[in-house]
Amino acid sequence: MNRDRRAAGAQAVNPDPGARSRAGRWRDQLIAFGWLVLVWNLLWGEFSWGNLVGGLLVAAAVLVFFPLPPVTFVGRLRPWALLVFALHFAGELVTASAHVASIAVRPGYRPRDAIIGVRLRVRSDLNLALTAEVLSLVPGTLIIEVDREAGVLYVHVLDVRGPGDLAASRERVLAVERRIVRAIGSAAELRRVQTDTVEKGP
């Protein structure tokens, strides 16, 4: 994943360079700066002037000496979709954890596995990374390989009992992507996710 991220930086040049992207870059830097200062203060356990100054110095040093490749974020945040995504994630985390735990303690049961490749509909690096991250956090699915050019995630699925389970796993990956795009994607990405497949349910 690390290598892919670095490669992403080399390629992720904004299609419309100019004042707007430069402003976006400054905004991203500012957010990272604020986040680092906050983390520094949380690590010390209290907010004080000393910690604030120390945090400012450390954050500046980190941003100057360890610059990250720019992440092109073209979407916008939708609070309601974000909440739906978070609730779905929490629910899947609980049910899937219970499932994997039950397999682990069931006597004499050997689960069958599968590795499936799922082509995502939105191929931006951010979407690829976020979908992979969420899938890895939910038990039962594990990312083995990422094909950045084709936008394909290779997912290891635990406890496969037949073709039906495979189709369901594929559907689950795409559902995760859809919820992420609904929460943070741009209007164009949203359209691609909505129109590509006809699906039932939310």
Binding site: M1, N2, V39, N41, L42, L43, G45, E46, L93, V94, A96, S97, V100, A101, I103, A104, V105, R110, P111, R112, D113, A114, I115, I116, G117, A132, E133, L135, S136, L137, V138, P139, G140, L142, I143, I144, E145, V146, D147, Y154, H156, L158, V160, L166
Partner: protein, 110 residues
């Protein structure tokens, strides 16, 4: 009164997290190959650690500790998938995956 409720909720979270960690340990021991073990090792651990953190936060209830607990949770969620993917990929590329255990392997067809 509120403190007692928080204490009991915290205790329940701690027990739940501990049970999930136990299940993860058993899974690591019993699952047949590296990839299946990764599911056990990294997965109930995500919810297990989160439950333990919530339990600790409910017992401690001081702002400084809450900040630290929140940081631990955030970094746990951000780093666990990266580590899992690196290990999974290394296992696959070095041939530590038993093909007999796989129903389908679309990565091999690439």
């Amino acid at each position: 009164m509120l403190g007692a409720i928080a204490d009991w909720l915290g205790a329940a979270c701690l027990v739940g997290g501990a049970l999930l960690s136990l299940a993860a340990g058993i899974g690591v021991l019993r699952f047949p190959d590296v990839l299946a073990r990764m599911h056990a090792g990294t997965k109930p651990q995500v919810l297990g650690v989160l439950l333990l953190l919530v339990g600790v936060a409910l017992r401690l209830r001081t702002p400084a500790d809450l900040g630290m607990v929140a940081l631990v949770g955030v970094f746990q969620l951000a780093t666990a998938p990266v580590a899992a993917q690196m290990i999974g990929r290394a296992a696959y590329r070095t041939g530590r995956v038993d093909p007999d255990l796989l129903d389908v392997d679309e990565l091999a067809e690439r």
